[in-house]
Every structure is written in structure tokens, then in C-alpha cells.
């Protein structure tokens, strides 16, 4: 009878030895970078594109001769939209594949899951998606927008250009919308909007029946004041939401919707004619009129062999992150984590909207905020572009974080320095 158990033991040993062996194949003449995006599961819909962008950027860089005279090699893994698996794969990339840096994650949950791994193993993660802020890690660079680089300028635009007085904050019930809406509510109230003129509404992930909520929005909007919807509705739920809006006849001229998670990629699954005029706020749109953007789009189409593939904001964030890393590595002359962490601060690289983005000491970057209106062809028409804004990791509108700043330069090297108490570590006291 013990034979079966032995068989089991042998199989275990086999699994473990294969995992151990693979590390031995690392070649010395390449620099490896990790790509940690879900290729299956619910997030594959958004993240697969970013994997393709990373592969393209690596290929382009290798054409230019690589980095430090070595070729780059992308190690792609699939964390399958499973958050603990993100941590496992991050650990594998860093300690087994010995990658110099990792580009990846989409949801905050996945980033939170890998954060301890990056801090423990002292590696670098470039996170390319807009997020709720309230985090600063020595080992993570946030090249997506913080709330002040997306949400607040969008609200300002609506209040100024459209004269909006009444606000619906609609979001999917998770941390990004909750935090963003808390910040927005505090911000709006600081601008004199009454609490009764703000309606907050949360829906579950993948919500598909929007009839009641859209009619609630309509009801809320019929109070005689100009009303707008600020949508932090997550990816998949947007398509049925916009379809319902269109069908119930809510036009952008009556109640405009400004979204923070709807880009070209999401619109590609929609007939956008009924949506013309609804807005989105990002740091990049495919329709940006800049030579560098035109070139990027051309490369992207050539790389994917599909000239219908759209580009979007997280792709730009990945582009900036990758180029900043390359520049920092070349400045440091090594891929050593500590050296790169030192050299990357202050690095400026071109962004795709025609300007430059600089990596700030708080590991966020500067970028302009663009407000775009949806067009019938699924693209955005840019109606406003601000000067570059520095990402603010600790919101000024939340009571517990308004005194915090982050500065990873020596000698401070602190992610949560309290300016009131003058100490590092949150409250400080």
C-alpha cells in the first residue's frame, strides 16, 4: 500500500525539482524584466494589451541596442486574475528568474498583494494604472494617475465649462471608487456644493442591470440644477451602463457622464453614437495630436499586425515607466535596485502627449490632464488639456492623509512623512 504514497512523494519531488532547475537557464548576456499581467480570468480583458505593449517596448529597445550593451528579455507570466497568485508570480520573477524590474498589475488588489514581496526582495515594480492613491512604497513607481491627476481636474472642468451644480458619484463597490468618491465629495463640499446635491451610488462588480440606477440618476437630475455623473464604474460594467443611458435617452447635453475607467479599449466594444459628448478624463488619448504619439500608434499597429487596435492611457503609463527605467539604468550604469532607485528620481522622459514626464521623489510622475469627449468613431475629442500635474499620493482632501508627504530621496527616504509632527511613519507622534 505504501507504494502509492511513495508515488505521491516522487511526484512532489518532481514538481519541486522542475521549479528549481528552471533558474539555471538564465543567460548572462541579457537583462531580464518581468511582465506581470493577467492573461486569463476576469482582468485579461484589460491586462493582455499591456503585456503586448511591454513586449513591443522591449523589442523596440533591443532594436536600438538594448540597455547597457545587453539585450533585454521579457519574462511573461500569467497571474490569472488571482491575487495570491500575483504574489507567487512576483516572487518567482524576482527570486527565480532574477528580473531587474517588473512591469505589471492592474487592480489595486493585485498591487497590494505584491507590495510586500517587492519590499522584502528589494526589487522594482512599475504600476501603470490610475489608482486611488494613499500609498507610497520605496519599491513601486506609480506611472498611472493619482486622483488629483484625473478626478479633480475633471470635476473642475464640469463645474466651470458645463456649470454643473449637482453631482452623482456612481461607482463599482471597491476601493478605488470609494476612495476617489470620498476625495471628490470632500473636494466638492469645500467648493460650496451642498451635501443634498451629491448622490453616491455603488454597484457590484460586473453589474449588468442598470435600469433602476439610470432612472434614479434621471430623477436626481430633474431637480432643476445642471447635473453630471462622475463615474468610477469598473471596466466590464460600463458597456451595459452606457447602453442603458443611451436607451433611456440621457444625452450628454442633458446629463453628461465623466468616466475615469473608460478609455478607447472599453469603447471598442460599444456602439458609441448614442454616447457622443460623454466625457472621460485621462492623461492620454489616442487622438492626441503629437508626432511622438503618431509614431507610437504606428509601431503598435505594426507590432500587433492589426491597424484597428487602439491605444489607451495605461499603455502610455507603461511606455513612460519603461523609458524612465531604461534611462535610470543607463544613468546608474547598473540594474542594481538601490542604484536605480537613486538615479531614477528626477529622470524626465517624453510622454505621448507631446511633453515630458518627470519621476518625482514621491515615485509618482508629472503628466498633463486631458478631458475628452466621446466621438462617434470611438475616439475622444480633447476639449481641455492642463499643464503637467504632479501625482499626489496622499490626498489633501482626506483628514488623515492631508499632513502626509512622501519623499524617497536621501536622507528623508520616507513614504509617509507627517509634516505636522515632523516625523516619518504616519501620525508620527
Amino acid at each position: 500500500m505504501t507504494f502509492k504514497s511513495k508515488l505521491g512523494g516522487a511526484l512532489l519531488a518532481a514538481v519541486m525539482s522542475t521549479t528549481a532547475l528552471q533558474g539555471a537557464f538564465a543567460a548572462d548576456d541579457t537583462i531580464k524584466i518581468g511582465v506581470l499581467h493577467s492573461l486569463s480570468g476576469t482582468m485579461a480583458i484589460s491586462e493582455t494589451t499591456l503585456k503586448d505593449v511591454m513586449l513591443m517596448l522591449v523589442a523596440e529597445q533591443n532594436k536600438k541596442g538594448g540597455v547597457l550593451g545587453k539585450k533585454l528579455e521579457a519574462v511573461v507570466v500569467d497571474p490569472a486574475s488571482d491575487w495570491p497568485l500575483f504574489a507567487e508570480k512576483a516572487r518567482q520573477l524576482i527570486s527565480k528568474d532574477k528580473v531587474a524590474a517588473v512591469f505589471g498589475c492592474w487592480t489595486s488588489s493585485s498591487r497590494k498583494s505584491v507590495l510586500p514581496v517587492f519590499e522584502e526582495l528589494n526589487s522594482i515594480l512599475f504600476y501603470p494604472v490610475q489608482y486611488e492613491g494613499e500609498e507610497s512604497s520605496r519599491n513601486i513607481f506609480y506611472t498611472g494617475a493619482a486622483p488629483n491627476q484625473q478626478a479633480i481636474p475633471a470635476v473642475d472642468y464640469l463645474a466651470k465649462e458645463e456649470g454643473v451644480k449637482r453631482w452623482v458619484l456612481a461607482g463599482t463597490d471597491y476601493v478605488y471608487p470609494q476612495t476617489t468618491n470620498k476625495i471628490l465629495k470632500a473636494y466638492l463640499m469645500s467648493k460650496g456644493v451642498a451635501e443634498s446635491d451629491i448622490m453616491v451610488n455603488y454597484t457590484p462588480f460586473g453589474h449588468s442591470d442598470w435600469q433602476t440606477i439610470v432612472s434614479d440618476i434621471k430623477k436626481f437630475g430633474s431637480a432643476g440644477k445642471k447635473t453630471a455623473v462622475v463615474s468610477t464604474i469598473n471596466g466590464d460594467a460600463n458597456v451595459p451602463f452606457y447602453k442603458e443611458l443611451g436607451n433611456q435617452g440621457i444625452k450628454a447635453e442633458d446629463i453628461p457622464v465623466v468616466a475615469f475607467s473608460v478609455g478607447e479599449e472599453e469603447l471598442a466594444g460599444l456602439d458609441t453614437k448614442p454616447l457622443v459628448g460623454h466625457l472621460a478624463a485621462w492623461n492620454y488619448f489616442q487622438s492626441v495630436d503629437a508626432d511622438v504619439n503618431a509614431e507610437f500608434i504606428k509601431e503598435w499597429h505594426a507590432f500587433t499586425k492589426n491597424d484597428k487596435r487602439v491605444t489607451n492611457d495605461p499603455m502610455e503609463a507603461a511606455y513612460i515607466g519603461f523609458n524612465a527605467w531604461v534611462k535610470a539604468v543607463e544613468a546608474a550604469g547598473t540594474t542594481n535596485t538601490d542604484a536605480v532607485l537613486d538615479s531614477i528620481i528626477g529622470v524626465s522622459v517624453p510622454n505621448l502627449s507631446g511633453g515630458t514626464s518627470t519621476v518625482m521623489p514621491n515615485h509618482h510622475i508629472t503628466k498633463p490632464v486631458l478631458i475628452g469627449e466621446i466621438q462617434a468613431d470611438g475616439q475622444f475629442d480633447i476639449v481641455q488639456e492642463t499643464a503637467p500635474v504632479v501625482g499626489d499620493e496622499w490626498s489633501d482632501y482626506l483628514p488623515d492623509s492631508k499632513n502626509l508627504i512622501s519623499d524617497w530621496r536621501k536622507p528623508m527616504s520616507c513614504g509617509n512623512f507627517n509634516v505636522a509632527s515632523g516625523k516619518c511613519g504616519g501620525k508620527g507622534s
Binding site: M1, T2, K4, S5, L7, G8, G9, L11, L12, V15, M16, T18, T19, A20, L39, S40, V76, V77, D78, A80, D82, W83, P84, A87, E88, K89, R91, Q92, S95, K96, T107, S108, S109, K112, S113, L115, P116, V117, E120, E134, S136, D173, Y174, V175, Q178, T179, K182, P204, F205, L398, P399, D400, L404, N416, N418, G425, G426, K427, G428, S429
Partner: protein
């Protein structure tokens, strides 16, 4: 009496399995800690924590086998008990962070601070105390299983209906834990743990101990499960599985038998979750996803249900395969996984261990048995689904 209970459990196969598990539990951490990193026999921390995770999954599969393989209750909600155990552990670990959180709030976890919570919700109290948290790891899943089973088994909900409502249970919990207002960190869950009982969760030593604990708990639960199924109670249990009405007519309180097994199984799942969380460093509502619970069923089926050892092997094999494929062939791993499920159900209906067991019998006898089984079930009424 108790020694007899335990002694019965230690049938040769189980002894060997426990021996191997404990050997792994000691050897792997030892190789990780004591050998230099460039040595051929060194086991990297990465592999150790990965394998520790498999051991937790194995414990979960074992728990499912107890109710499915021996009691005929196919729970599609065992992931919920696992996750609840994990959350109980996660809450303890959150409270251990203390003022090292990013806002330096000594009481409130970070996610409560930035969502403007003013005080700790009542259900978080006590979790700063390790013993209390460990009791909760058992009590919370156990209590849920008790309440759920109390109603379900008394109303004689069984078969597919039971499976579907266990799925409804874990789905409802998934939605509930996703809500930020619940006070469990919403979809981000609980993360950024610092230490456990004063030891850093990142340290290799702590990981080694956690790994050993996983192997140890798996061994203990295996012995317990084996003792249960080999006791008189276990015989009745199998009776309930095979002919529930007959057992009831013989005077046994079937609902109590089921309830007891269900609660024990849920507690084991809770332990698995509690060991899982510090090793992977995060617990979030994704663990409640119905798909996860179905995967547990698959591990058990692959290894062989009703064999106790089979599910352990199944869990380790499938997850090992998953880790390998998602790294080596990310594009095709779902094909491989899907094909595995189909092949196992078609060609290895008894699972790996079950097939090997039956391999000793003559092929003819096996075929005859299969025919008989087919004939008996020729009326595919839904009520038989529990089998």
C-alpha cells in the same frame, strides 16, 4: 478509548503518508535554512512558500473529501470556510501591524483610516489576541457550517440542491465581503502583514515554521479524518452516503451525523485558510469565488475521492501544474486544465489513487462493476446527484 480511536486511524497507508508529510515538513525548511543558496540541494524560499501554499490547498481538499467522499455531501462552498478561516487569521495579522501602518494609527487598519472610519467595528475586537484569533479560525467556519447544515440537513435538502445552495452561500459571502461597508477591506482584502507572534512574516525562519505547521496540521487532520472514517461512526457515515433512507430507517439521526461531519470539515477548511494567509500575504474576497470552490472539487476528484490521500495528491498535482503552466505556457494553461478535468472524469473516474487501488482487482471485475453502476443509475433523476 481515545488511543484506540487514533490507533485505528493509523492504517499502513496513512502512516506512510503522515511520515512523508512530516519528512517534507522538516526537510524542506531545513534545506532552505541550512544549505547555502548556491548549493544543489538548496530549496529557495520561493519554492518553499509555493509548496506551503499547496499543503494548505491539500488540507482544504482533504476537508472536502471527508464530506464528499464519505458522506456524499458535495459542497460547492468549501472555499467559503477556507476564506473565513483566512480572514480570521488576516484580522489577527492586521491588528499586529499596530502603528506601523502608513497612517500610524495604532488601532485602525489602514483601509479604515482612509475611508474615514472613526472606531474599530465590534467584530474586530479581540483579534489582537492570538489565541482568540485561532479559536475564531475554528469557530467562525464551524458556526457557519453548523447554522447552514442545521437548516439544510433537517429539511433534507440534498443532492444537487444542496450543492447549489452551498454555491449560493459562498457567492453571497463573496458579494458581502466585496462591500467596503462590511469592514473587511473590500476587494483589496487584508494585506501588508508585518509579523505573527512577534516574528516577521517575511523572515525565512518564520516561513520555515509556517511550512512545518502546514505539514503538521495536514498530518494531524489526516489522522483525524482517518480515525473518523475508520470508527463505527465512519461506517454509518458511508452508510448515509450510499443509502441515506435505509440508515434513517435503522434509527440513526442522519441529520446529526451529516451535521457533525460538515462542521468538522468546515473547521479543517478554516485551519487551511488560516495557514494559507500568512504564507501568501493576502486574503481577499476572491477566495470566496464559486469557481475556487469548484476547483477544490476538481483536485479531490483528480486525486480520488473517498481515499483521503488522493485529495492531497490531487491538490498538489493540479496546483503544481497550474504554477508550471501559468509560467511556461501562459496562453494555453486553461486548455490544459480543462482537458485534465475532462480526461480525469472520463478515464479516471475514481481518481488517481482510486484507480491504483482498483488496479489490483482484475480488469474484468472492474468492468462488471462499472456496468452495474451504469445500470443502477440508468434513471438519471436529479435526486441521485449527491452520489
Amino acid at each position: 478509548m481515545i488511543s484506540g480511536f487514533v490507533f485505528r486511524a493509523l492504517e499502513g497507508r496513512i502512516v506512510a503518508a503522515v511520515g512523508i508529510l512530516l519528512a517534507i515538513g522538516i526537510l524542506v525548511p531545513a534545506l532552505n535554512l541550512l544549505t547555502p543558496a548556491d548549493s544543489a540541494i538548496h530549496i529557495p524560499t520561493y519554492a518553499m512558500s509555493l509548496f506551503g501554499k499547496y499543503l494548505c490547498y491539500a488540507l482544504l481538499a482533504l476537508a472536502l473529501d471527508l464530506v464528499w467522499g464519505y458522506c456524499g455531501i458535495l459542497s460547492l462552498g468549501h472555499g467559503a470556510f477556507f476564506a473565513l478561516g483566512g480572514y480570521a487569521m488576516g484580522m489577527y495579522l492586521m491588528r499586529q501591524i499596530g502603528s506601523r501602518g502608513v497612517y500610524g494609527n495604532p488601532i485602525l487598519p489602514d483601509f479604515m483610516v482612509f475611508l474615514n472610519w472613526k472606531e474599530l467595528p465590534w467584530f474586530w475586537h479581540g483579534f489582537d489576541w492570538f489565541v482568540f484569533a485561532m479559536v475564531m479560525v475554528l469557530v467562525v467556519p464551524g458556526l457557519l457550517a453548523f447554522v447552514f447544515g442545521w437548516f439544510a440537513f433537517r429539511s433534507r435538502v440534498n443532492g444537487v440542491y444542496l450543492s447549489i445552495i452551498t454555491q449560493a452561500m459562498t457567492y453571497a459571502l463573496l458579494l458581502a465581503f466585496f462591500r467596503n461597508d462590511m469592514g473587511f477591506g473590500g476587494n483589496n482584502g487584508l494585506t501588508d502583514f508585518k509579523d505573527i507572534l512577534g516574528f516577521s512574516v517575511q523572515a525565512d525562519g518564520t516561513r520555515a515554521v509556517l511550512f512545518f505547521m502546514s505539514a503538521l496540521m495536514l498530518s494531524l487532520c489526516l489522522i483525524l479524518a482517518s480515525a473518523i472514517v475508520r470508527s463505527k461512526f465512519g461506517k454509518v457515515l458511508v452508510g448515509v452516503r450510499d443509502a441515506e433512507s435505509r440508515v434513517r430507517f435503522l434509527g440513526f439521526r442522519v441529520e446529526n451525523i451529516k451535521l457533525f461531519t460538515f462542521v468538522v470539515s468546515a473547521m479543517m477548511a478554516g485551519i487551511a485558510g488560516a495557514l494559507f494567509v500568512p504564507q501568501v500575504g493576502i486574503i481577499n474576497p476572491g477566495e470566496f469565488a464559486p469557481a475556487n470552490s469548484i476547483e477544490v472539487v476538481v483536485w479531490t476528484a483528480v486525486g480520488g475521492r473517498g481515499t483521503l490521500i488522493g485529495p492531497i495528491i490531487g491538490a498538489i498535482l493540479v496546483n503544481g501544474g497550474k504554477s508550471f503552466f501559468t509560467g511556461a505556457f501562459p496562453e494555453i494553461w486553461l486548455f490544459a486544465l480543462g482537458a485534465l478535468f475532462i480526461c480525469v472524469t472520463l478515464f479516471l473516474p475514481r481518481g488517481i489513487v482510486g484507480t491504483i487501488q482498483h488496479g489490483f482487482r482484475s480488469r474484468k471485475a472492474y468492468k462488471a462493476a462499472a456496468e452495474a453502476e451504469k445500470g443502477r443509475d440508468a434513471q438519471p433523476s436529479v435526486a441521485q446527484a449527491a452520489e
